[in-house]
């Protein structure tokens, strides 16, 4: 065990953690917007809209995240026509490819989490709102959304942790995130165990923080 290597690699890995956190937060923000959008589509009575939203979540939950990143990064990059469009400005950068893949992936899971949360809301609550003459828009914003968020907190907390671990795949498209830098250090020291133990501990610590944050929110919004 090379303790010195573990100590000297820690600051480098901590700096790389910033990249990981940036990837995670941006993917979660975009993912939440996508998830909410598709959850609402899923609740739509129109069969085509409904099936379209279901198809999206089915495809992105049914394929590995690594495959999705590879298709978005290496796959799209091979299409000559695609490279001539304005979209290439975004897709040329590995950073945005990773965020797009992560956001679409977590968006699919989030849409399912939110959909089931919406469906658990008792009809009585909505009827109570309607009987008071509250418009359906206000009912949606002030009753359905807050309850759905509270209902989905435990499941969404899991999704955040899964996504946090998923960001390690960013290193496969050349990004120097926590895993990327860990691999880089290993490529010059040839000591994977030491470096991965430190990197793993940092991931574990982030899980610890996220886990407790969600627990705190769950307590705060208990009803």
């Amino acid at each position: 065990m090379d303790i010195d290597l573990m100590i000297t690699s820690l600051p480098k890995l901590l700096i790389a953690t910033i990249v990981t956190l940036k990837l995670l937060s941006l993917s979660l923000i975009f993912g939440l917007i996508i998830g909410l959008f598709f959850a609402i589509l899923r609740l739509n009575k129109n069969i085509f809209i409904n099936k379209f939203a279901y198809g999206y979540s089915y495809v992105f939950r049914g394929t590995p995240l690594l495959v999705q990143i590879f298709i978005i990064y290496f796959g799209l990059g091979q299409i000559e026509y695609f490279r001539s469009t304005f979209l290439w400005v975004v897709f040329k950068e590995p950073y945005w490819c990773a965020i797009i893949a992560f956001a679409l992936n977590t968006g699919a899971y989030t849409s399912e989490i939110l959909r089931s949360a919406f469906q658990t809301i008792k009809p009585g609550m909505l009827e109570a709102g309607r009987s008071l003459g509250i418009s359906s828009k206000i009912i949606f914003l002030k009753i359905q959304i807050p309850i759905a968020i509270r209902q989905s907190l435990p499941a969404y907390g899991n999704e955040i942790i899964l996504m946090m671990k998923g960001t390690s795949l960013a290193s496969t498209v050349t990004l120097m995130d926590l895993t990327g830098v860990a691999k880089y250090i290993i490529s010059t020291t040839f000591k994977p165990i030491e470096v991965f133990i430190v990197a793993g501990s940092i991931y574990l610590f982030m899980t610890f923080i996220i886990h407790n944050l969600i627990k705190f929110l769950e307590k705060k919004y208990q009803y």
């Binding site: 290496f74 990059g77 091979q78 490279r83 040329k92 590995p94 496969t172 050349t174 691999k183 880089y184 290993i186 490529s187 010059t188 040839f190 000591k191 994977p192």
Partner: protein, 279 residues
């Protein structure tokens, strides 16, 4: 119910024992690790069988050593750790002998040498650099120093792609060509893909890796600048062996001597590279 449990136990026991037997029957074979993704050094054919210069050379060397061999596949970035952890006993994966790697493992004498080169897509602004055909970085002469200066100017702010944990990455990290934006990939295939897609302004690898890719894909990949050797690029490609395994190291050294004398290395090298890359 109990009968079923007993049967189940028997099945599990048999499976475990057979695993043990499989494990032990391979014990006296020399296991050689290769990447299988760096043509023409080592690669795989359509059916997934390992082929290439080093695969064929490995069988030849094993014949001279007089022991059974097994060639196993290993991702490049885990090659040296896997050797140290005894997943296999020798590396033959186009691995150049460098001082940095020699801190971790031993190398046999070199069996082949290659030059590295930058590659770009046809029409790149990096084409037509005024540099000598090849430079040696072990003791760079005036022309080599001037070439490095030209490269430093041309590559400033450019993205150069390399495979991770390679001599090519070490060279770019060394600062000999100034501060370039280095992007690292797990395999050379991925480097080639991103060079073709235009995400990389240039790529650095063995010159043969690019000519092989250009030939097979039909993409307009062209070599630019000088070819590199010496210095960070090491002194030829050898067999990587664990430091405490001197017996195997000697066996490989002797086998390489014999194979060289009998012309086997030249013959196999010419077959795979199209020129005699042996040393």
């Amino acid at each position: 119910m109990e009968e079923i449990m007993n049967k189940l136990k028997k099945i599990i026991f048999t499976v475990l024992v057979s695993f043990l037997l499989i494990g032990s029957s391979n014990a006296d074979k020399i296991k050689i690790g290769t990447e299988g993704a760096y043509p023409p050094w080592n690669s795989k054919d359509a059916s997934g069988k390992l082929i290439g210069f080093e695969v064929e050379l490995a069988w030849t060397l094993c014949r001279y050593i007089g022991q059974q061999c097994e060639i196993v596949e290993q991702d490049w970035d885990g090659m040296i750790p896997a050797l140290i952890m005894r997943k296999f006993d020798a590396i033959m994966a186009g691995m150049s002998i460098t001082a940095e790697r020699q801190k971790a493992i031993s190398f046999s004498q070199g069996y082949a040498d290659e030059v590295a080169s930058l590659a770009v897509m046809k029409g790149s602004s990096l084409e037509g650099m005024d540099t000598p055909a090849g430079i040696n970085l072990t003791k760079p002469n005036a022309a080599a120093k001037k070439a490095l200066k030209t490269l430093t100017g041309a590559l400033a702010g450019k993205t150069v792609c390399v495979q991770t944990a390679t001599i090519h990455q070490n060279f770019l990290d060394s600062g000999d060509v100034g501060k370039v934006n280095v992007r690292t990939y797990k395999t050379q295939d991925e480097v080639n893909l991103d060079l073709a897609s235009g995400r990389c302004d240039a790529a650095l690898a063995a010159a043969v890796a690019f000519s092989d890719y250009a030939e097979k894909s039909g993409k307009p990949v062209v070599l630019v600048g000088p070819t590199f050797s010496g210095g960070a690029f090491g002194n030829g490609v050898g067999v990587g062996i664990r430091k405490d395994d001197t017996e195997l190291l000697n066996a490989f050294n002797k086998a390489i001597d014999k194979a060289r004398k009998n012309g086997d290395i030249s013959r196999i090298a010419t077959k795979w590279f199209g020129f005699d890359a042996s040393m």
